[in-house]
Amino acid sequence: MFGTLLSLQAKQARRSPAYQKSLVVNIILGFFIVYFALIFIALGVFGDKILAEFYPDQSPVVSFNSFLLFYFLIDLVSRFMLQDLPVLAIQPFLHLPLKRNKLVHFVLLRSIPSVFNLLMLLVFVPFMIRSVVPVHGIGIALVWLASLLLLTFINNFILIYFKRQLTSNPKLTLLLALLVGGLMLLDYLQLLSLRQASTVAFGALLQQPWLVLVPLLGMVGVYLLNYRFLINHLYPEEIYIKKVSAVEGSDMAFLNKFGDTGKLIALELKLIWRHKRPKSMVMISAFLLFYGLIFYTNKVYLEGWGMLIFVGIFVTGSPMFNYGQFVPAWQSAHFDALLTRPISMNQYVKAKYLMFVPSILLVTFLTLPYAFFGTKVLLINLASCVFNIGVNSLVVLYFAALNKERLDLSNGSAFNWQGVGASKFVMMLPMVLGPVAIFLPFSIMDIPQWGIFAIAFTGALGIAFHRQLLQMLAKRLEDRKYTLAAGFRQH
C-alpha cells in the first residue's frame, strides 16, 4: 500500500503544473541548483581549512561541533518562516478501505525527503569524509553524521507539530528568532556559552558513540507526538489548517484621497495581507535588507565599484523585484473582474507604480545605516534608489506583462516555483546590467563618481517622463490582456 501511495505522490509531483515548465526555465533553474549545490559542497570540503584559519588553536572538528547547536536553532527558526507543511493530500483516501495508521505514517514519513532536511548533507558529508573520518575512524564518523541527521529530523517534526497546532504565528516566529538572537548575544558576551555546550555535547558523542541514542529517542518522541496527534485528528477540517477566523472589513481611508487609483492600491495591499504567498514574500524581502552585509564587510568588494552598484540596486529594489515580477499575475484569480469594471489600464498601471515607489523609498530609508560603511556606499545606494524608481520599476512592469501563468497564492513563497517563467530571469539582466553599463565608461575614464551621478541622472530622466512611459506600458498591457486573461483562467 505504501508503494501505491508513493507512486500516486510521484504522479502528483510530475503532473503538477509547476514542473511542466519550458526548457529554458528548467535549464536556468538547473544552473542555479548546481551552483548552490557546489557552494555547499565546497563549504564542506574546505570547511576544515576555513575553520583552521579562524580558530587555529583547536581542531576543525571541535570548531565545527561548537557551531552545531546554533545551527540547529537557526534551522528551526528558518523552518518556521520558510517551510510549508507537507501537503496532506490524504483526503481522497480517507473514505477508502485503507488503514488509518498507515495513512498517518505515510504523511509523516513523506515529510522527510525535502530540501530542508537533506540540503545540509551536502556540507556534512564532505566535512565528515575530510575531517572526521581521519581522526575518529569511519564508524564513529557515521554515528556522528547519523546524529546530525536525526537532529535535523527532530527539527522537521517539531515544526510540523507546532505549525499544525498554532498555525503560522508570526509573533511566535519572531519570539523564537529573538530568543536565538539573545542566546547568540549571551554567547558573544561570554555570559552563557551555547557554543561551549555544543562542543561538549558533540565531543562526548565522538568519544561515546552510544550517545546517538539520545537524538534517536528524541526523534522517536516527536514522531510519536505527531502520530498521536494526527491519528486523533484524522478529519480533513482538523488536519488542514484552514482557520476561518472572524474578519473585520477594513477601509484604508487615507488612500481614498487618491481617487480610484488609491482604491486599487488599497485592494492590492489587502491582497498582500490576506494571502500566504505575498505575505511571506514581504517577510523574505525584509531579510534581504541584510544582504548588503555580506558585501560591505568584505574589503575587496568595498574598494571596487561594480559589485557595490549591484548590491545597491538589489538592496533598494528587492521588495519591488520580488513583488513586481508577478504583476499582474497576483490578480490572476480575479483578472476578469478588473477587466469588466470601469478601471482603465492607465489607472491600473499607475497604481502599481505608486506602490513600487514608496516601497523603494522605504527600503532606501531603512538601509541608510549602511552609510556606516562609507559615504561611497551611501552615494551608490541613493543613486540606485533613484534608478530603481525611474527605470527599474518600469522594466519590471514591462517584463511582468509577459507572465500569463495563473498564480497560486495559498502557498508560501520560499522555494515556490509555481508561476515562475523565463521572463523573471531575463528581466534581471537589464535591471542589474543597465546601471553597470552606464557606469562603465566613467569608470574607464577614471571618474567613477560621475558614473554614479550618471546612474542617478538616468533614473531622474525616467521619473521625469514616467507619465508617458506608464502610458506606453498601459497600452502594451491592453494589447496583451486577452492572452493574459486566457492564461489566468487556466487552473
Partner: protein, 231 residues
C-alpha cells in the same frame, strides 16, 4: 443595445462561436440556452471584451467594445468566480464596486435592500472572506455586485446554478422586478429551461456556436424547448 455582426471565435482545431447577426434591443431580456460546449460563455466573454474574436465585431450602443471603456460604466456582469475578488468580505467587495460607480455607502445599502431575501441572512455581516463562502453564496454575491450599479445591461452566466430551490425562485422574482423597475436589458444563460422562460421574453438557442432558434417567449415556449432538447 448590443449588436453582434459576423462574430467568429475559432481555435486551431474548432470553431466555438459563429454568429452571423444578433441584435438585442434596449430593455429586452434575452435567455441563452444550449448544451455544454454550445459557446454561451465564450459569446459572453466576447461581449465583455475578455476574449478576442477571430473575426467580427461586438458593438454596445454603437461603440465597439474592444479596447474601449465606455460600456463598462453601464454594464454589470457575473460569469464565474473569476469576477469575484475573493479575498475581500462581501461588504468590502460591494464598497469597492460601488466606489467605482460613484455610489455612496447609503446608495449601496439601499440598492442591496431588494437582495435581502435572496441573501437569506447568510451574506452580510458574516465576518468572512468571499473565498470562504459556499459556491451558492458566492454566486449571490456576484449577482448582487453585478446589479449594484443598476446597469443598463446585465449579463449573467447560469445565475440559477448552485442555488437552492428557494433562492432560485427569489432570484427569478428579483430579476423580473429589476427589469420592470429599471428597464434593464438582460442577457442570461441557463440550463434551467423553466426559469429562463419565466424571466426572459426572448429565447435564443445556441448549438455548436451557431444560433439555431431565436423566438419570443409565449405560452408554448417551454414545451418547444423541452421538445428541442429531448434526444
Amino acid at each position: 443595445m448590443i449588436e453582434v455582426k459576423d462574430l467568429v471565435k475559432a481555435y486551431s482545431d474548432a470553431t466555438v462561436v459563429d454568429i452571423r447577426a444578433l441584435h438585442v434591443a434596449p430593455g429586452e431580456t434575452v435567455g441563452l440556452v444550449g448544451n455544454n460546449g454550445a459557446g454561451k460563455t465564450t459569446l459572453f466573454r466576447m461581449l465583455l471584451d475578455l476574449v478576442r474574436p477571430t473575426t467580427g465585431v461586438v458593438t454596445s450602443k454603437d461603440i465597439p467594445v474592444a479596447h474601449t471603456d465606455a460600456w463598462k460604466h453601464y454594464t454589470g456582469s457575473h460569469l464565474d468566480e473569476g469576477f469575484l475578488i475573493d479575498y475581500l468580505t462581501p461588504e468590502e467587495y460591494f464598497k469597492f464596486i460601488g466606489d467605482l460607480h460613484g455610489l455612496s455607502a447609503g446608495d449601496i445599502q439601499e440598492r442591496l435592500q431588494p437582495f435581502h431575501d435572496l441573501f437569506n441572512g447568510e451574506i452580510l455581516r458574516q465576518r468572512k472572506y468571499i473565498r470562504d463562502f459556499s459556491k451558492g453564496n458566492q454566486k449571490k454575491v456576484g449577482i448582487a455586485a453585478a446589479a449594484l450599479s443598476h446597469p443598463e445591461l446585465l449579463i449573467l452566466d447560469e445565475p440559477f446554478a448552485n442555488l437552492d430551490p428557494s433562492s432560485q425562485i427569489r432570484l427569478k422574482n428579483l430579476l423580473r422586478s429589476l427589469h420592470e423597475q429599471f428597464g434593464m436589458t438582460m442577457l442570461i444563460s441557463s440550463h434551467d429551461l423553466s426559469h429562463v422562460t419565466e424571466v426572459c421574453d426572448r429565447i435564443v438557442i445556441l448549438e455548436k456556436g451557431k444560433i439555431v432558434q431565436d423566438m419570443q417567449t409565449t405560452e408554448g415556449t417551454l414545451q418547444a424547448l423541452e421538445a428541442y432538447f429531448t434526444v
